[in-house]
């Protein structure tokens, strides 16, 4: 796209409800889907991007793998992991993606609850990052469940309310709808349905507070799930009192850093889609997010250490698992903390972006350690997922990236959607129809 625009500098990419010329008629849905290019132009620019070819190869190999998993059964993809019942689909897809998606509730509450309107240019990105992460966590879950068509059973068929997973199921379902409502404002603008947006905007505070409640509980619940297996998780990664706090607290920097990473990728690879407000405020906002993330990280580091001290588990640090623990903490937490804090101090957005990467890797590594690598450590071997399981995980993640990009290209996430005639750079006199429509709406 970047190259296409360089070659065709006059192209108008759709960022408004109506066309500038042609008497200001609204863009059709097809025009909006192709961003205002002709389908031929759109396909041509897509084909000229090598990343798309890379994605195509992954999908060509991976989608048959996903289909085969459902045709031949779970064992075709993951084997018979009786002692490691939760593999990559949940270890990475659910437990790894959900903390990185806590950005939705954090930015939503920063703006709506705490009144930090300076975060507005990045609020929608945070919320979109949230809903996509949760949505794809559910996709991963569907791939992992033995009988995914029974996913609604805990809601409607048979209740097990004393189970932590029951809480997770209900919360993720409810929170997905909360986030869908929050994201829908961008969708309504894009579709040209202002009534929908006005309706949602009235609920903004309620949605944001619901987001805080649901997120506190289910982020923690994902950790509480591991307290069912006290003897199976390595003691360095297990603490009866702190387990859910590890998960909740680390999800905070995880989500903020994911927004830093995604917004960096956006501005580097789709600068044409970002408006000036976004471009000009991004460095400042990323540093502000990094400030928040480092506060989260220092809390996380403290409780990880207190957890060890509380149960007096220092002796384990001398073992091989201890070295692996120190790597996780050293790379994922301490190095991240140093990078983020130095970045904030010196106003260096490069360091902040680097620190954001190490933070999210550290959070994901922690989840994998709890649910996969150290799980049943006393059996004496580490569970390494088979190739097909890895391939399916990579494929679903690729679909996630493609969906993410497709939405960022179109919906007003990184830019402001122009709906008022006065915002257009048009020379024609304002058509009567629009004057009447806008007058009617303002009544």
């Amino acid at each position: 796209m970047k190259q296409f625009l360089a070659r065709n500098p006059g192209t108008q990419i759709i960022d408004s409800l109506r066309k500038d010329n042609d008497k200001g008629r609204p863009w059709t849905l097809m025009e909006k889907i192709f961003l205002g290019l002709t389908p031929q132009q759109y396909v041509a620019q897509a084909m000229s991007n090598p990343l798309n070819w890379f994605f195509a190869v992954i999908l060509l190999v991976g989608i048959p793998f996903i289909i085969a998993r459902f045709f031949f059964g779970l064992s075709w993809a993951v084997g018979d992991p009786y002692d490691n019942a939760w593999g990559l689909f949940l270890g990475f897809g659910l437990f790894g993606m959900v903390p990185l998606s806590s950005s939705g509730f954090q930015l939503g509450s920063a703006v709506e609850v705490f009144g930090r309107h300076d975060f507005e240019p990045i609020e929608r990105l945070g919320i979109l990052n949230g809903i996509l992460g949760y949505f794809f966590a559910v996709v991963f879950l569907m791939c992992d469940l033995g009988q995914p068509w029974r996913l609604i059973y805990p809601m409607f068929v048979s209740w097990g309310p004393e189970a932590v997973l029951f809480l997770v199921a209900w919360h993720v379902a409810t929170y997905l709808s909360v986030q869908a409502a929050e994201t829908s404002t961008a969708f309504f603008e894009w579709m040209g349905w202002p009534a929908g947006k006005t309706f949602i905007k009235k609920m903004a505070l309620g949605l944001a507070v619901a987001g805080i409640i649901l997120s506190t509980l289910h982020q923690g619940a994902l950790g509480a799930l591991s307290t069912y297996a006290p003897g199976k998780i390595h003691p360095l990664w297990y603490s009866a009192s702190f387990q859910w706090l590890y998960f909740f607290v680390s999800s905070l920097p995880g989500g903020l850093c994911m927004v830093i990473v995604v917004s960096t990728i956006s501005i580097k690879t789709m600068g044409w889609r970002c408006d000036d407000t976004f471009k000009n405020s991004l460095s400042k906002l990323q540093i502000a997010l990094a400030k928040g993330a480092s506060l989260g990280l220092i809390t996380y580091l403290t409780i990880r250490l207190i957890g060890i001290a509380h149960d007096n588990k220092w002796a384990y640090l001398g073992t091989g698992w201890g070295a692996w623990w120190m790597f996780e903490i050293g790379f994922g937490v301490i190095l991240s903390l140093v990078l983020l804090v130095t970045g904030v101090r010196n106003n260096s957005v490069t360091l902040v972006r680097l620190g954001a990467w190490t933070t999210i890797l550290g959070v994901v590594l922690h989840r994998l350690n709890v649910y996969m690598f150290t799980f049943n450590w006393q059996n004496g071997h580490v569970h390494i997922p088979p190739f097909r399981e890895i391939m399916i995980t990579v494929t679903i993640y690729t679909i996630y990236i493609i969906t993410y990009r497709a939405i960022l290209y179109r919906w007003p996430i990184l830019f402001k959607w122009k709906t008022r005639y006065s915002e257009y750079a048009v020379l024609d006199p304002e058509p009567v129809a629009i004057v009447e429509a806008e007058a009617a709406r303002s009544k």
Partner: protein
């Protein structure tokens, strides 16, 4: 779809249960844990008697109509490695070479906990602890999340991963449907030529176990494994060596697994009741007198 009659029955059942619990369950409530059904059955396993003939494995396979095993049941080469329960075998016997004493064998199957971790971790309530002591499984509601396999402290439940359309948890159900429901011992107990296993009321077996330890000084370690482990199990073990040496976790907690989760579960009502007031309050404080930025319907970025 819940039929009206079923619904009424359900209400009645709930009411009766509530009444029963409030009348009869006071002592249990005071103790803070479930002591188990009074007439729950159990099995006492004496590891010193087992010779590793694997006839219990064969009986189980036959009773539960499980598929043919890869190796026949009289093939003793299976002892070369430590096996676990699988979708094809609800019970397996393992061999443990103990340094100073001779070889011991231990039969592995579901221990039918008094407060089962599989049951308390299941979000569709697929598991039931029956009053006869069996932990049974309702295949018709299982979603296949496999949290029970994560939670089971003995790594017992297996999963039929290979079935594309109806994969299910596979585990020993104490021959509930075919035998224990009618007061008959499970197939493995009945077939055992060495009388390794004694089937009886759990409370009687606890006494029997301790009597046997006292009557044979020096023969057993002074512990009845399963009497207290994870809140008590219906299957209990006597051994001549430390339980760690025969593949059982000798340091397992005495509290039921659910007690680990209570820290978090206790926090849930607090969040649900305090957070809404707290954060809407913060909102009022944070946004007061902020140059009209308070208003959400202002539409400043429409």
């Amino acid at each position: 779809m819940i039929e009206r009659r079923d619904f009424l029955k359900g209400c009645l059942a709930c009411g009766v249960t509530a009444a029963t619990v409030s009348v009869a369950g006071t002592s249990a409530m005071a103790a803070g844990s479930f002591e188990g059904y009074p007439d729950a059955m159990g099995v006492l396993v004496d590891l010193t008697r087992c010779v590793g003939c694997r006839s219990c494995e064969a009986a189980c396979n036959n009773e539960q109509k499980l598929p043919e095993p890869d190796l026949p049941f009289d093939d003793l080469s299976v002892f070369s490695e430590k096996r676990r329960t699988t979708e094809k075998a609800y019970t397996v016997v393992n061999e443990y070479k103990v340094a100073d004493k001779d070889t011991l064998f231990r039969k592995i199957q579901c221990n039918h906990c008094t407060e089962p971790a599989c049951l308390s971790s299941c979000f569709v309530n697929a598991y039931t602890k029956t009053k006869e002591g069996a932990v049974i499984y309702d295949a018709s509601v299982c979603v296949g999340c496999r949290n029970c396999m994560i939670a089971c402290p003995f790594n017992i439940p297996a999963y039929s991963y290979s079935s594309p359309l109806n994969p299910l948890v596979k585990k020993c159900i104490f021959c509930y449907d075919t035998r224990v429901k009618d007061g008959r011992p499970p197939a493995c107990v009945e077939i055992c030529p060495q009388q390794v296993m004694t089937f009886g009321r759990r409370s009687d077996l606890v006494k029997l176990g301790h009597d046997r330890i006292q009557a044979n000084p020096g023969k057993y370690v002074d512990k009845l494994y399963g009497e207290k482990a994870v809140g008590g199990t219906s299957w209990m073990y006597l051994s001549s060596v430390d339980f760690d040496k025969v593949g059982l976790d000798g340091h397992i907690q005495n509290e039921p697994i659910i007690s680990n989760v209570k820290d978090f579960l206790g926090f849930v009502p607090m969040v649900l009741s305090i957070w809404p007031a707290l954060f809407t309050g913060v909102h009022l404080l944070a946004t007061k007198n902020k140059d009209g930025h308070h208003d959400h319907e202002e539409g400043d970025h429409q």
